[in-house]
Symmetry: C2
Subunit: 501 residues, 2 copies
Amino acid sequence: MKLKAIRMGIDTHQEFVVYIRADAAVVRAEGFTSSVRVMISDERQEAIATLNVVDADKLEDGCVGMSNALWDVFDPEHDVAISHAPVVSSMSQVRAKIYNRHLSAPELSDIIRDIARGYYSDVQISAFLSACAGSRLSLDEITSLTSAMVNVGHRLTWPGISHIYDKHCIGGLPGNRTTPLVVAIASACGLVVPKTSSRAITSPAGTADTMEVMTPVDLGIDDMRRVVESTGACLAWGGAMGLSPVDDLLIRVERILDLDSKGQMVASVLSKKIAAGSTHILIDVPVGATAKVRNLDTAHGLMASFEHVGNALGVHVQCVITDGSQPVGNGIGPSLEARDVLAVLRGDAGAPEDLRQKSLELAAHMLTMGLGLAYDDAWEKARQVLDSGQALQQFERICRAQGGFTEPVPAPFTRVLAAHQDGHVNAIDSRRIARLAKLAGAPKVPVAGLDLHVKLGDRVSKDDALLTIHAQTEGELDYALLYYLHNRDMIFLEDKPCPAS
Amino acid sequence: MKLKAIRMGIDTHQEFVVYIRADAAVVRAEGFTSSVRVMISDERQEAIATLNVVDADKLEDGCVGMSNALWDVFDPEHDVAISHAPVVSSMSQVRAKIYNRHLSAPELSDIIRDIARGYYSDVQISAFLSACAGSRLSLDEITSLTSAMVNVGHRLTWPGISHIYDKHCIGGLPGNRTTPLVVAIASACGLVVPKTSSRAITSPAGTADTMEVMTPVDLGIDDMRRVVESTGACLAWGGAMGLSPVDDLLIRVERILDLDSKGQMVASVLSKKIAAGSTHILIDVPVGATAKVRNLDTAHGLMASFEHVGNALGVHVQCVITDGSQPVGNGIGPSLEARDVLAVLRGDAGAPEDLRQKSLELAAHMLTMGLGLAYDDAWEKARQVLDSGQALQQFERICRAQGGFTEPVPAPFTRVLAAHQDGHVNAIDSRRIARLAKLAGAPKVPVAGLDLHVKLGDRVSKDDALLTIHAQTEGELDYALLYYLHNRDMIFLEDKPCPAS
């Protein structure tokens, strides 16, 4: 019983869904009901999908509808057969983990292989993540998981280069765009830094979004290699390179559950880096009340795991705890963050000092790894490279190699929001600041976002500017404004200074 | 921004899904992407659903598509608004459980209330089930969960009757249709047994499917009450009565995960019974290699939990371990099981002795609870009531009160399958026997299924009949036959008898 495949035009994200008529012979013969898992196959390939039964008038007779992600996998020229999905044998290992059993490396490897080939529904991925959440994975298991995630994707190699540097930030801090600065400084000092970054998932900008304002970032692997060979670095989007592809599937379901899992975080970060061929990885761990890591205990536990797993897999990992109490820089949103990055590189008078200092600190840590310098000497070298303009030249060289440099432009609509009282800035809520920037249009609209004019501890007078909203349209500006007016306390003003600040 | 609701004609089971055009204003303004959770509301009600973004040509401008289950909830006359779903606050309790924290009664109650009102996606239900699986729920937590599940549904009361009897079997055994017999015997002895049963979910027949061959089972609560008042019992379908409705949602996801959770099983069974107003509950726990409970250790753990939770909630629970090594009775499938039940009630010469004996045993246990008799005296009373025809008369009375009795009819197509060698029947695989009956058409086709002609320990000669397949069409007969020919060892013949048999 072959069926003709039809594109349903329904986006179900990465989860495969097939739509079959209630009166189809295969539905009656196999006793299919909605939400069972079925196998779809033609001569060349097969996939497992979730079944949705549809009314007879929604689909032509003899056809099977495919969700967009599934459609992309199959060749519409070939008819497909539908049958009961085979039992996914690695689910018995997921159940074992749910029952608290330790999983071996081959067992975790089976699970990750089956997730990679689309055998798990979101419901099954959810069970796996729940079983591994909190501190349920031992360091051995995190190591095996990381290794399994690396192995199911592409893996970049850098023949003839023994040290490949990389950095990562455990997100949650708006405006924290140190990566372009650290990469420019470190590669200007001779380190090889083939940086691949992600676009924003839940934040107002990712490094790839910010870089895309200034230069093309959607490089193929060959282009990326050419850029790195000619400049010692790149600042590219890693999304299309197939590095640790299971990570994207897991992260999406983790986000639905809002699960915080040390093991998954370590495996997620390190699998991407190891797949990219990195040997030396610097990890920025901002700690703050509204950052992802909220206290030093959690930070230290995370650092120990990162370092253990890195060691076990033969890469050098160094973690740095940084201040996560407020956003970094002034701009929040792709273009505004690009503007800040350029201001620091160019030594502009108005360049945000916190972004400059944090970038120097991280670059110095990378240089201690790469050049064997003491921290103070490394910091001084980073400062010289930045202040002399060498970092700017290196940044421009990277952009040219990636396809040319474009200067960020300002947004057509802006609105300054002023303090409604005198006071001390005693708290800034990074989560609501990020939400405000997104409501203004970031990251989809690159020029959208906001400019923060105050920092923790500042004293402001009534009518002083606190922030400026930037937007592409008046509608989006109003939309963000409305949210701000209901959430003025995202910048928390009090009569007396907070003892801590 | 109001949108007109349209029925998409897509069955996504109980999970609510909304379909919105990629170019809809609300999608851009809210930054919606596929698989986010959204709130749909009109003046009267609201629901949370999973979003699927669709191509512009799949939906009229200004419309929002609804999956069938969601469509059933809303009144199409009123336009709806779509917004980001609020954070489901009880998910933080689910996360706490994932991190191994004990949940209090109010916390479990919050979770069950939110599941009941459709606030959880399947992915979130999966996380909850995974966190509670195995032995992760304490007896206190199982008690709280059971109680919470009772409280979100309808609850039957039986004014003026202090003792309400019920029975349940921890499934997995094809043909094990003791319920009509036990109910007839016990109610003929004066016990009040308002039995509600389910239809088959994964098995070839449920008690409701079997009873429906002989009498209407889809009674409203008022009809059921009338039947019980006039006869002391009923044998009705409980599915539409809204008893512990969350149980149905949980079971569906548990089935996808194939999770075996003691706590969930206890809460599932007892919540349905307590909601039905039962005070005395007999639980049949078949133990066997291919039954649901595979060994005595598991059975004893389960029994202890059932009895503890029953006590804590003020109901009397008695568990009985029975032989689960092979199917019970001869027929498997609604009509064939009905035929067996009638044969036992009528004392026919060919009545299956194992079904008769097991029903007498369970009825005797129920009579010890209800009449305060010693087990042997209770058994003898049950036997007398059965052999004297009183149980048959009582059964006919119940059927008449429910709307009349219909005699089961045979299937139009049958095929006898014979032994291909001499041998001893050393094992019967209940799971594959059940699958065979389902492939023949059971339970959807009531006359379909199979007749087993052998029992464990039997000695057969080549060409002796092992089983007969019954089907409504030749196609279905062939379909089942093909499966049998590939799985002949579901009835496992060996030259020597198995030491155990």
